[in-house]
Symmetry: D2
């Protein structure tokens, strides 16, 4: 189980790397939202392999079809099913995966859990699974934008030790899309691209950090004590492949401050309660306070590398794995739309939940 997310804006993804396709069902989307494939495809294009020379060269068009839930271009309030066909299924490239567990992949744990696994392309553990998330996230984003004016923008803020300078408050999509690594700091972006190309040639991989901001979230979203907004954001991000850490607002750095230095004073601004500083990251006590939400997600270096590695066989013998073919030297550029999508899913869900209990 575990393939559904959200309570009121609920998405259920399905699909393996090699099979009949991958897809998602969205249940709970409000009715009468204008929605066609054209609202969804752009985010899928930002996610897809082969989009630039620094990501995997797997070629997948990933064209989405909406199979249900809309009528004459509007959502019906019924489940929205979306499907992307599988193509480029060179399973022969993976035959070694049938018998050997790839280090730091999920081959072993899936086998241990289920007693079976779809080894071609990694099966369910393939990053193709995130197609459904990104498609559903595009629906959530559109609704949030139209209903509340919420804007969600993410970018790559670090690749290995290269850190970018990013002003999240004003970050725009066009800044993010201005280069293939999706880092708005042009100088850092150049160094990141050079590093990724170098690493790719070495058959190695690198990780990094994606930063994200959500502007326009009204005060009041989030449901303590367990379903705090940051808790659900954290879960969403830590459910993404290769993520190893999440922090909101001041995060791990915040522990270096005292309370006096860390607290966000309240001030009235234009008739609204505001905080001139925002170490809280837009969330206090698990509920949005009207300031921009900002958070960071750590992604480990991709597990697939083209360097021989020690591993074991499914039968329990020590062996060496030498992966071949294409690999993704850095998942970060493609993780940006995934992070945005998951943020949108959390916010749309909490918007609906808040409206249920509090009527607005």
């Amino acid at each position: 189980m575990g393939n559904s997310f959200g309570e009121r804006f609920r998405v259920s993804t399905w699909g393996e790397s090699h099979g009949g396709g991958v897809g998602v069902v969205v249940d709970g989307c409000p009715p009468r939202l204008a929605l066609t494939e054209a609202d969804i495809q752009p985010d899928l294009d930002r996610r897809r392999p082969g989009q630039s020379r620094i990501v995997t060269q797997r070629q997948e068009p990933d064209r989405v079809r909406i199979l249900s839930g809309t009528f004459e271009g509007l959502t019906l309030g019924t489940p929205i099913a979306m499907l992307v066909d599988n193509t480029d299924a060179r399973s022969e490239a993976y035959t070694e995966m049938a018998s050997k567990f790839r280090p730091s992949h999920a081959d072993y744990t899936y086998q241990a859990k289920f007693g079976i696994r779809a080894w071609p392309g990694g099966g369910r553990t393939s990053a193709r699974e995130t197609i459904g998330r990104v498609a559903a996230g595009a629906v959530a984003r559109k609704w949030l934008r139209e209903e509340f004016g919420v804007e969600i923008v993410a970018c790559v803020s670090q690749v290995k030790e290269i850190k970018a300078v990013v002003a999240l408050e004003k970050l725009t999509l066009s800044q993010v899309e201005s280069n293939m690594v999706r880092c708005p700091d042009g100088a850092a972006a150049k160094r990141m691209i050079a590093l990724i190309e170098c690493v790719r040639k070495a058959g190695d991989s690198v990780g990094g950090v994606v930063s994200c901001v959500a502007r326009g979230v009204p005060p009041g979203w989030g449901e303590p004590v367990f379903d705090r907004l940051e808790a659900d954001l954290g879960k969403a991000m830590l459910s993404l492949p290769a993520s190893k850490g999440f922090e909101i607002g001041s995060g791990f750095e915040g522990v270096l401050l005292t309370g006096r230095e860390h607290n966000d004073a309240f001030r009235m601004r234009a008739g609204r309660v505001r905080t001139p500083t925002n170490r809280s990251g837009g969330v206090q006590g698990g509920i949005s306070n009207g300031e921009p939400l900002y958070f960071r997600v750590a992604f480990k270096p991709t597990a697939t590398i083209l360097i021989p590695q020690q591993t074991v066989t499914a039968e329990g013998r020590n062996t060496i794995l030498k992966a071949r073919g294409r690999h993704d030297p850095c998942v970060l550029p493609r993780a940006v739309p995934m992070v945005e999508a998951m943020a949108a899913l959390v916010l749309a869900d909490h918007a609906l939940r808040h409206r249920a209990q509090c009527g607005r």
Copy 2:
């Protein structure tokens, strides 16, 4: 809503700081587990205020009573209700809270969400709410220990800039309890205690990091793609008051490594598939791999300080807040049992979920 956690080992907490008490209902606990108040009280004692000179001096005995769900000392499989009375309710000490929003607290956001709040003692946002979590966590821990031999131990590994050296693999409860700050590195502990005392006298506060390990978790727990074990652990930790960050395994530091450096090779050891290194933190693809789980949680400095701060009134006027009375200069020592409890709740829930689908 949002006051329940877990799908199969499901806990629901209730209660405000000042009112009829605080409590928890645990639904789904397996039957025939030996359970009395004596199994629960020790963890509550580690959580309670007034336990040492470096935490808040509020005096609350926090005696737990089991009201249902057991018979002749064994669990019945029916809901286990546990109750702790409220005492020491000096609401006069908080009267300024009735009219002013405390900076970086949840006063404003609760008011914005619900249009009402129980201001005495912070109401539902009081740390007393975690009593129910710790009580439920004690039940989960006992079951995990008896059924699987799982051991969960947390400790304070950082206070402000003071970092401890901690060997999580072998960390024991007695090491953790050897000093009042719950840091097993004696030298660091002394410095932490001195710092907290100094900060307390200044009316200020500090934050830090709690590290946690869970040993004995069998391979196979966790439900991708959304309910990955690390995603649910992250959510659990980020639902704790004052937490701002979570990382598992190599976490944010892991982004500095390449894939070749980061990957955990597989090797056969004593007939089992093992990883000599553990940068994964015991989880691969969202599923436990049989290695120790380890993770870290960042807690910001406590929001309540005894220093005048800028804020606004409930009516929307700028003003100054000068808190009086007792305050908690550092939540870290008391956060240790909370982190352990939440880890136990996640693991017990996933143990039951795994058993449902996979039969073991």
Copy 3:
């Protein structure tokens, strides 16, 4: 598990017949609803044993206390915990239950499921469990009445073969409460009371039917395809002890009509879409249509009788059970507030769910 009901107006009951009490936690109730014990106690008084000579003579005052979730007489939006103490615990009266399974009770199935059971008073299977439902239902009813003008009234419409003539459209609480059997048809009520008294003297028991109407439900509540309003009402009613059947609108009788006879034509009335007939029972396609909801619930004769019965021991030997002491010859009068409470819980939950998705 299975001790929670509802998705957005969510209640969780706990408690055994003999133990620290019985109670309920309500999560999701909208904030700022005026609520005190005085809103809840009247329904509990209609439910409690010993209220008249035709129900069990167990004497339990069943005084409710609200422990959390309100402040200065208003709901906070946080969990509302309510507690009723256990008293009159003559467990010696039940000692035979320790070793013998009572026929058509849940003794055997609880033992088979859990491998343990709290035999005194039936433990969790006692009708005391419904206290939490009735208390939570009173909260839901008040909110439905104040927010939407929804009125829910139930009555006893049949005891054994004695059927009452009931005009559900105009049924009032005072009609229902005009006699101890809660049947608004005075002539039938007299015969029912005489029958129950006769049956009680014989140590036997009888069942019957409770009919219920909900007026003022706006069009639009209910969530097909699975969470149809009638499906959730049916589940709610079939979760009550001793219930064996549920029907809505024309129900089982409706199968005797043809489509031409059964269909409810639409007509405009006072600017609204109405159906002059109401064989649908207020629900079409799983969604309320603005007409009164009406449904019926069958309750079997109470299982506890004072007549020797064949049964088996917990060790698996055939034996005879001769129950002693007090028994409830007819659960129907006390089932009336239970049916109303469960209807209120379903409707409040769907009101909130509808508001989440559709904004009203």
Copy 4:
């Protein structure tokens, strides 16, 4: 929302009558179950229109494809997505539905709830929606049969006033399939068929009762107090289109008996606790007792008739609706596999839930 069913064996259906198809996602199915389309198609064939002269003559092949969740003929433990294309989409036959609400259909309530509806073919309210249920139910049934030997068989036991004599204890699929009305009582079946043909010619419709038995359910399934087995069965059945009533065991007839007459005595038989009578219908206190489960479901006459009816337009004017084309004079024969499917979904879900908490 409301398009998912079950907690551990969880199905989510999607799709409108006219659109990209209809489908279902099954999450939580145990791994390593042999499963191909050949396991599912037979039940879909029993559900599909055009299968005999007494059901609707709409021609739909309804070929199912499994898109995910299996590998080399075995389930993976990951979501199983199944898809059936839409064909025969003569939307012109329905154009009157665009402007007029069909009596006792869901046109009006969908419009009232969502402010929009897919009028061609009834959209989401079409019986095509049940394709997903039947496909998922076939998976559940196979698992229940292989894992526990559970057998689920339903049949038509009443059409309008024609009642069949059915021995549920020994009812077999071949008996049910021996005639096109799916009634094992051959004499009654003939009369039913004659009645349905007569009614069809008149452009009218009839309803009836489906009876169902589940044999081989072990003692212990069901989760009181709310998720009693009969409560979840009732919900499942009442979620089927056109159902208006549900009863288990003695049901509404049981209220005519006294407790002495109704109680099922326990006796030891072949070392097991058994009840020679089975008025309980296999469930006591919400938990299966090892006896056959049996229950009945009332279906109203189909709402679509070819006789002019009073109704209103979407703009709120009184008018007359004269439906044309094909109609389904009696849904009962096609409801049989739907009832079996929903029963299988409830039982599989409770089997997994029981295993989670109780380990078997």
